[in-house]
């Protein structure tokens, strides 16, 4: 299994690692099968712009690198633009992931959605296009078992 240089660079120097006190939204998701867990914190301003984002991740290098890249991709964006950041976009930005590690990028997408869901609930708003996230993404991840 070989990681791209970009994955290794983000693993070695993760962006946005840490936490935010009194976050606008926080979401934690895990994959029960491989054990990875990711938590995302958002600071969202009155205009609905993601001013700051932090993450904490328990997982392999791919999980850490996708956390780092996903948070980079949503930082400074509007909520609607953040929703458009898909796992495929995260993978591509990292110059790809080994096939068995693609599920790690799902974790990042779900963690962002979970944090946005928390923000919406706290503020009593509905974010168009956002569905209630799963806390365990493994139930949607059966294909990755086939390796």
């Amino acid at each position: 299994m070989a990681y791209s240089d970009k994955v290794m660079e983000h693993f070695t120097n993760p962006r946005n690692m840490g936490e935010i006190d009194n976050p606008s939204g926080v979401g934690t998701v895990g994959n029960a099968q491989c054990g990875d867990i990711m938590r995302v914190y958002f600071d969202i301003d009155d205009e609905g712009i993601i001013r700051d984002v932090k993450f904490k991740t328990f997982g392999c290098a791919a999980a850490v690198a996708t956390s780092s890249m996903a948070t980079e991709l949503v930082k400074g964006k509007s909520i609607q633009d953040a929703l458009k950041v898909t796992n495929a976009a995260v993978c591509e930005a990292l110059d790809g992931l080994p096939p068995i590690k693609v599920h790690c990028s799902l974790l990042a997408e779900e963690a962002i959605h979970a944090a946005l869901w928390d923000y919406a609930e706290k503020n009593g708003i509905v974010i168009e296009g956002l569905e209630k996230p799963k806390t365990d993404i493994h139930e949607d991840d059966e294909d990755s078992e086939e390796y």
Partner: protein, 407 residues
Amino acid sequence: MTTTTSTQVSRQIYLDNAATTAVYPQVVEAMLPYFTTAYGNPSSIYGLGNSAKEAVTDARRRIAAHLNVPTQDLYFTAGGTESDNWAIKATADAYQAKGKHLITTAIEHHAVSHSTAWLERHGFEVTYLGVDESGLVDPTAFEAAIRPDTILATMIFANNEIGTIQPIKELAAIAKSHGVLFHTDAVQAVAHVPIDVADLGVDMLSASAHKFHGPKGVGFLYIRKGLKTKSFVDGGGQERKRRAGTENVPGIMGMAKALDLCMADFDARVAHELALRDHLIERVLAEVDHVRLNGHRTQRLPNNANFSFEFVEGESLLLSLEQKGIMGSSGSACTSGSLDPSHVLLAIGLPHEIAHGSLRLTLGEETTMADIDYTVESIKGVLGCLRMMSPLYDDYLHGRKALTVIK
């Protein structure tokens, strides 16, 4: 795997000798003539063939002497995996008229456990004995599991992950007293723990050269005289008609030389490794929080240390250590090509989230005390970073219950 130039370091510390070992230069030297000048086929009748045959016979005699087995009972194979497959599948086949039940342990190498699983798909029954938290099989439980139709027991001599050494002599005696054949996968044990096969009383024993500074792709299986176990690889009449295929003469010569060298300095090498292993274990347990030693504290391979570090994941740990020049391995799911953590770590009772954060370091004779101290310092540094990144550690520090996603 690729690493960026910025992460290349000059210091390289190889602590994965259970995965494979460096071939000794003297071993390479001993092999070379059999590629280029003495390249004859041992089955050929002219001089070039005869001298190859004599070389193989000499290698067999030397290896057999180190293990205290009759020379003719040692059969050369393509490695530990073939030896295990042969011992288990062909013995089950040969004795199935007596019964179709086998006994093994929950902590076998896949070469054994996938062989017994194959037998289960072909009409055999297999009992998998659990182990205690140090990885030891309970001899009483073994005896209780023996049935009238039990034909074979196969148990790993020294575990490749956690290093625990089983009481093989006692287990083999129990098998013998019930008329059950006993095989042991000694791939990690040969040249690392004293082995006198006659004294052990096992019927079959597997080994692999590249675990003791020999070449890859060659190993052997000892089969006690009188066993009905037939050939597993069909073809020509090599190895007394028990293992077809032209002998890997250079590999066999390399294996014999490697074992000669390992046995010549056995006491000094093991004493050196033991001192370093214990220093490593003592420092890590004393200086790192939320850590456990996996495997038995004393009844373990002299070069094996296996730890679980809470709140961190194994692959991240390995890659971070690699960036400091340290090469180890992990029972983490993410490093295994499957998504499940090691069956060995689960068998000794570790919960999934702890099994994910395991680190195996296996030392060699070239390892120094300075290497160990550097490794301990590196582990402490890397753990600090990874735990700072871990939501599980965060939850622990804040007294929060972690999100429960672990099955």
